[in-house]
Symmetry: C2
Subunit: 364 residues, 2 copies
């Protein structure tokens, strides 16, 4: 039994295929009775139109492309959740493009451009050159960035309000009485990290605190480096009683370093993260953090893109964050304790055994 075509349905319903087509596209000009009859036939024969034929005839495709950098970042996953929730209500499907490095990436954009498969493109957590995307956009393919790491551009993008988020975190810490508040910077090449750092500085200023350059350290997102830097921070005379991390994973490393130095979170040092990824509710202690509304960002971006496909272009939005207060922050200690240890050392090359017998390999 081969697949039914619109012609078969038409015949079964005693109508022309034009009418069936009208029903499919629920045009108002078909008689309700007729429509019902056609629908009934389709239902009972389990008919569905061929998407290839539809795409060809309409001259447009039912796909939106989504470029993600691997998927291993929690935020990408969370954003996707929001994207999916919007897209599945639309006639579109998502084509997933995974780009891991820059070379892949330009080839990928090229492939997307020439395949003409997608009606629009969603780029999640983008940290590659923007130029190919901008060209694509100018050539008529709607492109929306979500949670981009790159600097702002002509492309519409959806962001969390990174600046305001960190500012709120600082207000929280100031209210708890902290006066020595340190900041671990993320990679400053990322616009979001820069915004967060501005939020830190302005937050300090609003609380009437001076920004001590010694309390800003560049740790990137790399846990061992961060632990080392934090260890240094805690060894300072006039050490910080609170540390703001550039994201949650980094905050975990910060907490570990604090504990390694023989201090407690939050009694001796308060720690604030950024993102509120799922595991932050379960860390030890649970992490106070600035929540980025990833699913909402995904939803907003998807909506923006769908609108753009329909011709309504909008400039992009910045969504508010919220501060999730858990237990990694507390009142500033009256008299800060000194750390009991000052270094954390841990080798990083494990041995790997296969299931069959011992063998050696190196890995991060």
């Amino acid at each position: 039994m081969r697949k039914l075509t619109i012609r078969d349905i038409a015949q079964l319903a005693g109508l022309s295929k034009s009418t069936v087509s009208l029903v499919l596209n629920n045009s108002p000009k078909v008689d309700p009775a007729t429509r019902e009859r056609v629908l009934e036939v389709m239902r009972s024969h389990n008919y569905t139109p061929s998407s290839a034929a539809t795409a060809l005839a309409r001259g447009r495709t039912p796909f939106i492309g989504m470029i993600v950098p691997g998927l291993t970042w929690h935020m990408v996953a969370a954003v996707n959740y929001g994207v999916a929730s919007v897209v599945e209500q639309s006639p579109y499907e998502i084509i997933l493009y995974t780009s891991t490095n820059e070379k892949d990436y330009t080839a990928l954009v090229d492939r997307i451009a020439t395949s003409g498969l997608s009606a629009g493109l969603l780029v999640v957590t983008h940290d590659q050159p923007l130029e190919p995307l901008e060209r694509l956009h100018r050539s008529g393919l709607p492109v929306v960035l979500v949670n981009t790491l790159a600097a702002p551009s002509e492309l519409p993008s959806v962001q969390a309000d990174n600046y305001e988020g960190t500012r709120t975190a600082l207000r929280h810490l100031a209210e708890l009485g902290h006066t020595r508040i340190a900041c671990v910077q993320g990679p400053m090449a990322y616009a979001c990290c820069e915004d967060r750092y501005r939020g830190y500085l302005d937050g300090l200023a609003e609380a009437g605190l001076d920004a001590d350059p010694a309390l800003t350290v560049a740790g990137g997102f790399h846990a061992p480096t961060v632990r080392e830097r934090v260890s240094d921070l805690l060894a300072l005379r006039g050490r910080p009683t609170a540390i703001v991390a550039p994201n949650d994973n980094t905050a975990y490393a910060v907490m570990e370093a604090v504990i390694d130095c023989g201090l407690r979170v939050p009694q001796d040092v308060s720690v604030v993260g950024f993102d509120d990824i799922a595991s932050s509710a379960d860390t030890h202690p649970p992490l106070t953090t600035v929540r980025q509304p990833f699913p909402e960002m995904g939803r907003a971006a998807a909506q923006l893109l769908l609108d753009a496909i329909d011709g309504d272009t909008a400039p992009g939005v910045s969504l508010p964050t919220s501060l999730v207060v858990r237990e990694s922050t507390g009142p500033a200690p009256a008299k800060p304790r000194r750390p009991t240890r000052t270094t954390t050392n841990r080798p990083e090359t494990p041995r790997v055994w296969s299931g069959l017998g011992p063998n050696i390999s190196t890995q991060r």
Copy 2:
């Protein structure tokens, strides 16, 4: 300037569109000189065939569907990485379907079935009823499961060797002199967890150790519950000196509980995880764990599916794991210390502040 069609290319090359089509599908029956000329024209005019038209004419689509449960699990992301690396070498693209709950899920399978969009279906980390998938498979759509949580079925699937993985972990612990080895069970409804538990039991037996029922606790994957159970374990007289966790995230909770009880990892208690997700190299101490080869699993699954689409069906494979020895395991202590504390308590409802002003919300 509208998009070029095969007809335009034919005209420009002074040939019929049939010949151009033959070139496109690199048929051996075109004259090499002709082929080169056509290719040159296509190149210089930046021509690419319409995929919709191709799909329609060929009667098959260039898509494979991939169902993922959210994307928030690290393993899903890692598997996707492998899948992507195979698929991008093929003429296929990935359509991403995100299913979060069971209701979505059946609707989703239905939608996939009727849309006829995909030539095959990849189901990652599947924990929903298999029946709809089996029906789909029987109706002719190739389906491959990757890292399924469900029981084995008629569907080809790609797994890690969960049984052997845990067995190897036990050999490692036994060699370190541990004799009291506990096991935190994952949800036993998942086939993988059952396999791992069998590996635990057989590993014990091979080391000549008795399985003490008191040393097996059901913790699921929920961190607070796990911490509580581990706390109980450590309070036992004849407490374990090593604990095997059902996955890495759970192992983190195990380690936290051990530390909460005033004991050290690995000096007092060794901890072994399962998965080797990225962060396990950076935990404190770095986690010894059984690595699942997620990317390879993704690759294998994608290859299996592509083969199945071409008609070569294969029954699925189980890939070997490897033991990654880091620092959370060490020699069994000569004389186990008693825990200094016996409970961990931590409230779980944080306050949430929006960026604008304090407001309250509840969340995990």
